[in-house]
Point group: C2
Chain length 202, copies 2
């Protein structure tokens, strides 16, 4: 990619610029109620320019959601790396990492589970990223079961309970219900994860 050009007919990296403007708008109002035209104005291009990069508004949201799931999978893997796979610590760090991702990337998080993207079929990029994240969680729990530290109950059930818990804490945190302090939010996630894991121990 050539260095940023200014005052040229072509923008340089309009796709990225539109995504960033959208994230900014989501951060400001909490919801993707921006208009594509306003985004274009902010970026300094014609109203129809973004349509060269996104089929429609939903496709833009899908791109943001996919980016979010990629960031989430990264965060989960990184956190998991700090503890022995299959250990209870590993499990707890997965939970904390889920919530930390939401606290660090609230704008992404707010888009990722939007109902209008529930059918990910038209967006293979989104579908892949989402299942990848889900797999990291699932295999973390399965490993803990295999190493015998967690009940040998049906894995899917444990995944749903764990995922549900961290997802709920993340959602409420992003909604501002737990205050603005990331440290406090992570502390909540940590103690909640510990409690749930205690309840799931073999």
């Amino acid at each position: 990619m050539p260095p940023r050009r200014r005052n040229t007919y072509h923008h340089g990296d309009l796709r990225r610029a539109v995504i960033d403007a959208a994230l900014q708008a989501i951060r400001e109002q909490g919801s993707p109620d921006f208009s594509l035209r306003a985004l274009a104005r902010r970026v300094g291009v014609a109203p129809s320019a973004p349509y060269r990069h996104f089929e429609d508004k939903r496709a833009l949201l899908a791109a943001i959601a996919a980016e979010g799931f990629r960031l989430l999978a990264d965060g989960l893997r990184k956190a998991a790396g700090t503890a022995r796979p299959g250990s209870l610590d590993h499990l707890r760090e997965l939970g904390v990492a889920y919530v930390r991702f939401a606290a660090r990337h609230p704008a992404h998080f707010r888009i990722m589970f939007r109902p209008e993207l529930a059918d990910k079929t038209p967006y293979p990029e989104l579908l892949d990223a989402a299942s990848d994240s889900f797999d990291v969680l699932t295999s973390g729990i399965r490993a803990a079961q295999e190493s015998g530290v967690v009940r040998p109950e049906e894995t899917g059930r444990l995944v749903r309970a764990s995922w549900g818990m961290v997802h709920g804490i993340a959602a409420l945190a992003v909604a501002g219900q737990f205050g603005r302090s990331r440290a406090k939010i992570e502390a909540i996630a940590r103690s909640a994860s510990e409690a749930l894991i205690r309840g799931l121990e073999a």
Copy 2:
């Protein structure tokens, strides 16, 4: 209220009809992306008629959210009634009832935590209903602490963990991640609540 009048200039209960049409639309598309004009068409009134009952679109959503919180508080209180206050069973039933509410009233649930309603200040009805629901949860946990069956940890922390868990399971269930069967969804909620409670026992 007089009996339903048809073919009259005045509708009879337009406010209720608009809310119901909105709920129907939310059920159909998962998000409140309907137009107020379409709602009016469905109900058979002029595009501007709903504005007699709702200041704007957000106020309509706020009314739905408030109704949702009232239904939630009812459901929580009813479920709580089936077990001795302060007992672990009582706690579990609260958790199950939260998720059951979401499974039974998904359209309400989808609206209740929308970011555009996060500032409930302009909607005192919504504010009251929301804090009432929250109080039922909080006092349930406090009672369990006082009867000595749950750790005497800071109550707020326990509330956040518990609320987060049931909220996450509810959200994922409403998003269709756990399939359509209400029985299965409640089973997940039940076993997850039991696990968390085990982890929180004194």
